[in-house]
Each structure stands twice: as C-alpha cells, then as structure tokens.
C-alpha cells in the first residue's frame, strides 16, 4: 500500500504521462484527465481491489470511465499499475493501438464498458451493481463522471434507479472542474445545486476538494460505510490541474499540447511533483 505522499507522486506521474501521451498523439483531451488525476490514482493505487495481471478477476472492484474523453489518465493508471507496459501509452490514438481515443471494452482488457458518448456509464454501473448484489458479492463499483456530463438526462434516470435499488456498493464521482467545451458549466447549463439534486434523488452525498489526495481517500473510505444508499462524491477540481497554462481554461478541454508546450508542462509538473 502506498503512503499518501507516494500517491501524490503517482498522481503527478500520471499527469506527466497524460501530457506526454497527448503531445505524442497530437490530439485528445488534457483538461479532464488532469483534473481527475488524484481520483483515478486513489482508485487504482489504494481504494480498488483489482489484479492488473488478471483484469477479469471475479473479485475485482469495477471502474467505469463514464466521461470517456478522460481515458488517458485511466490508461496511465493502468500502465503504471501493471496492466500493460508503460511504453504502450505512446500508442494512444494511433492506428492498431489498444488505447483507443475513447475507452473500448473490446480492445483493452480492464476497460469494463465502452464509453465516449456521455451519460451512459452510470446506468451500466447500476446494472453491474444489481448483478453483483444478486450474487451477494461484495465487489464495489466506481463510476467517474464529468460535471458537464450531468446535463445528460440518462444520468438522472440512473441516479433514480441507483437509489431505488439501494445500491450501496456503488460510488459515483463527479469531477466538478466547472468547465465544459463551450465554457463554464454555470454558463452553459447551470447544474447547481448539484449536491442537493443528488441528495433529493436519495444519494449519500460527499463534497470534497478533489485535487486534495487526503480528502479523496477519506471520501472513498466514507463511501464504503454507506448503507442502503449509493454515494456520490462531488469532487471540486481544477480543470487542467498542474499545468498552469491549462488551468481553468475551457480551450484545453479538447486540444493536445504541442511537443514544445508539453516540455514546458512536464517541466512544471516535475518541479512541483
């Protein structure tokens, strides 16, 4: 088990990986990968039970990247935890790669479900949760969503169902970085008060600073203690976190850094890591 300090270092390493992968690919979405690095690190290196050498291990906890465009940070976590060689990260988005631009279950073992069209992951998480409960299994399910993704109606269909079925093995995480493609979430489509919404839908709601590793770890521990209710962690984060010229800029949702920009970004991450 890694110490909190080590987990922070790992999160920083994943950020460096993301920047380098996207620069190599020449396209992709840095903002949401960088904002969710602590969440994904905590899950892959501390919270989740999983066996990288056996991705379909029956005892595993399930992770669903519902906001599929942030899959680079998941790939980085998978590589760094041993699912596949780190060098393979540089094949992201290239022809014949297993690392598709958005998660593909058929391509890469360890990807539980294909996403890329927003709003679908939480329903799938509900289904997995129901299946596991039917078999009286203790595995947990984690589903990472975006805050822009909360605009999708299907999220709320799933939110209703998760509470209805009392799915306390399910933990949703909203990477609330406040930005979506067309601008600030509050301007594009105001989803606030998000915590109240989930609360009124019957969820256990935790609100944290999502780039603070201690808070992230504490929240995941709390989520495990919820009874007869699904938990959502609303993680307030900074889009583009760690790379000062990307932070809080909608423009960095879906544009890759050039090789030169990547060098500057990596230097900053290494200095502060």
């Amino acid at each position: 088990m890694k110490s909190v300090q080590e987990l922070k270092k790992t999160a920083n390493q994943l950020r460096i990986d993301v920047v380098e992968m996207l620069a190599e690919a020449g396209s992709g979405h840095p903002g949401g990968s960088l904002s969710s690095a602590e969440i994904v690190t905590a899950l892959y290196f501390d919270v989740m039970k999983h066996k990288p050498e056996n991705p379909n291990w029956e005892g595993r906890d399930y992770f669903i990247m519902s906001k599929g465009h942030s899959v680079p940070v998941q790939y980085a976590a998978m590589a760094r935890s041993g699912y596949f060689p780190v060098e393979e990260l540089m094949t992201l988005r290239k022809l014949n790669s297993r690392l598709q631009g958005h998660p593909s279950r058929a391509n890469l073992p360890g990807i539980e479900t294909s996403t890329g069209s927003l709003g679908q992951g939480l329903s799938v998480a509900v289904g997995i949760s129901l299946g596991l409960k039917l078999d009286k299994k203790q595995n947990r399910i984690y589903c990472l969503m975006g805050d822009g993704e909360q605009d999708e109606g299907q999220i709320w269909e799933a939110a209703m169902a998760a509470a209805h079925f009392k799915l306390d093995n399910l933990c949703g995480i909203v990477d609330a970085n406040g930005l979506q493609i067309d601008g600030f979430t509050k301007d594009v489509m105001n989803i606030e008060p998000l915590a109240k919404k989930y609360d009124s839908f019957g969820w256990n709601v935790l609100e944290i600073k999502g780039n603070n590793m201690e808070e992230v770890l504490t929240a995941f521990e709390k989520a495990k203690t919820a009874k007869e209710k699904p938990t959502v962690i609303i993680a307030h984060t900074i889009k583009g976190k760690g790379v000062s010229f990307m932070e809080n800029k909608a423009g960095w949702h879906g544009r890759a850094p050039t090789k030169e920009e990547a060098k500057i970004a990596v230097a900053e991450l290494e200095k502060n890591g």
């Binding site: 399930y62 593909s104 279950r105 058929a106 539980e112 479900t113 294909s114 996403t115 890329g116 069209s117 709003g119 679908q120 939480l122 329903s123 799938v124 998480a125 509900v126 289904g127 997995i128 949760s129 129901l130 299946g131 596991l132 039917l134 078999d135 109606g153 299907q154 269909e157 799933a158 209703m160 169902a161 079925f165």
Partner: protein, 321 residues
C-alpha cells in the same frame, strides 16, 4: 424443406407471447438469466416472470436508455439479460446506447422488442415501429432476428441466449397464425424453405411469412410455382440460400412489415446485387408513417397482404421475361 403445420390456421398467437414463454423457460433453466423492463411488462410479456422470479426481473420505470445501460451492466457482471420494451422505444429511444455501450462493447445483451410493425394498430404511427430492422442491422456485432410466429419466437428467444453477443429480436403485438410446430427446425442464420418453387422465390420475415404462403397458394392455382423462404435471421443473413433461389427461380419478391428502405428486403438486395443480380420486387411500407386502424385494415391500406405479394410476383415475372 422445413416441416410446416397449420396452414389451415387453427391457432392464432402473438409472437410476443412466444418471447415471454421463451424467457420464462430460460429463467427456469438458468439462474444467470435476468430481465429488465421499462414499465411495459404486461405488454412485453415479461410479467410472466413476476410471480416466480421477481428477484431477477428488474423494473426500471419509463427510462429506456437506462434500461439498456442496466442490461449492459448486468451482462458485464456475468448475467444474460433480456431487456424488453416497445420497438419504437428500443431501438427508437436508445440508439446511441445500443451503438456505443452494447454494440461497440459487444456485450451479451438480448433485446426483446415487442410491438414491431404496423399491426400494432389503433395506437397509431407513434407506436408502430417500422424502421428498427434498418437501424439494428447496420450496427456491427448485432444479430437480428424476426420470427414468423409464436412458436418460432420462443425458439428464437431461447437460441439468442445460447450465442454470445448482442441480439435484437423483433416481435409483434397482434395475434397471428401459428404456422410452425415444435418440430420445425430453427437455427440462427439459416433461413427456412417453407415451400419449394421454381418460378419465383418470395423471401419474407415476421408475420409476412404467412402472407407469403397464402400468396403462394393463390399463385399455384394460377399455375405459378412460387417458393417461400422464411428469412427469420436478417443478420447474419443466409447468403447461400438467397443466391441458391435466385439461381433457381431467376426472380425474387421480398415481403416485410417494415419500411422498404434499409430493411430485410434491402438486406436481400445487398446480397443479390453483389452476387447474383435478378429482378426483384419489394413488398413493405413505402416511406410513410402509419396511422390508427385495425391490423387487418392497416395491412390492406399499406399494401402488406397476400394480394399485394401476388401482385408483386406478377410484376417481377414480367421483368424476368
């Protein structure tokens, strides 16, 4: 040739009943089979499960996209889920979910789509699914089944659980003649020859198979020898049998309770056009929405009766000359 019974039509049953009975039998035999319903379990016949198997029947309310997602998750957890609602809602309301989550993910999800076709009747066009075959057959990984009667519907349902991967099954609302028996062969991907013939081959699916048989009978009395093929599997399509009959008869008529564009007939044309072009006439819905009415009235008004098939056969025989 497949063994046929009941051309005297003693019994009528809806294909959705065959679906319900098929799922029930699967539930009894395999505890891994589950079902997801979107507030229509009485209509889709999933209610047959509620008495004995309520723990494995998940009701998700009027939320079709969520239904498909939940079925997907259940399959990821190792279950064999049947999700069922009306044809207009699935695929109609959840095409993106079927494409990205189910199809692209190649998940072991079975979709029982009931109330396909114009014979939905009085509910009108909003409820008459006439484009689902086209939508579903263009999604990679999907198998697409359109059984011809309640007996075949049950077999198709059971067969769908035995193959890995996503399956779309289309059923109807209205009671239609039972033309096959327990003994009639059923295998996914293998079309059935219900009547041999040498002048023309009528290729049909769903309830149009009965109409095709009725048409062939009328044609026989006029000295035209028509073969009738039950193309219950639209995908993967039985190319071999289609080509064989194109070669044998030199003229094809297709018949489906579906839009002409992109449906079963189009799938047949894709085979013929590339492998063995022969004259073809198509019977189906001609790029219009339906309306309220009784099934029989609608079949007549929208050109889906055995008379319409007879007419198409005569036209195609003119082209063959």
């Amino acid at each position: 040739m497949a063994e046929l019974v009941n051309m005297g039509v003693s019994e009528k049953k809806a294909t959705r009943d065959g679906f319900g009975n098929g799922v029930l039998e699967l539930f009894e035999k395999n505890s891994n089979v589950v079902a997801v319903s979107a507030d229509l379990s009485e209509s889709t016949k999933l209610n047959l499960l509620s008495e004995k198997f309520s723990n494995r029947l998940f009701e998700v309310g009027v939320a079709e996209a969520n239904m498909v997602g939940i079925a997907s998750g259940l399959s990821i957890a190792g279950k064999i889920p049947f999700a069922s609602t009306f044809c207009v809602f699935c695929p109609g309301r959840c095409y993106d979910q079927l494409r990205v989550t189910v199809g692209y993910g190649n998940l072991n999800v079975k979709l029982g789509s009931t109330h396909g076709g114009i014979t939905v009747g009085a509910d009108g066009a909003s409820h008459q699914g006439l484009e689902d075959i086209a939508l579903m057959r263009v999604l990679p990984n999907f198998t697409v089944l359109v059984p011809c009667d309640a007996v075949e519907a049950k077999k198709a349902t059971i067969a769908s659980a035995k193959i890995k991967g996503p399956v779309y099954l289309r059923f109807g609302r209205d009671k239609v003649p039972v033309i096959t028996s327990e003994e009639t062969h059923f295998e996914i991907g293998k079309a059935l020859v219900f009547k041999e013939g040498s002048d023309v081959a009528i290729i049909a699916c769903g309830i149009m198979v009965y109409e095709a048989l009725a048409a062939a009978k009328k044609l026989q009395s006029e000295g035209i020898d028509a073969a009738v093929i039950n193309l219950h599997t639209i995908k993967p399509i039985d190319e071999q049998l289609i080509i064989k009959f194109a070669k044998k008869t030199g003229a094809i008529v297709t018949a489906e309770e579906h839009q002409l564009h992109g449906g079963m007939g189009s799938a047949v044309l894709e085979v013929l056009g590339q492998e063995f072009p022969v004259p073809v006439k198509m019977v189906g819905i001609k790029d219009v929405f339906g309306e309220s009415g009784s099934p029989a009235e609608l079949m007549k008004k929208y050109g889906l009766t055995s008379e319409d098939i007879v007419k198409a056969v005569k036209e195609v025989l003119e082209l063959k000359k």
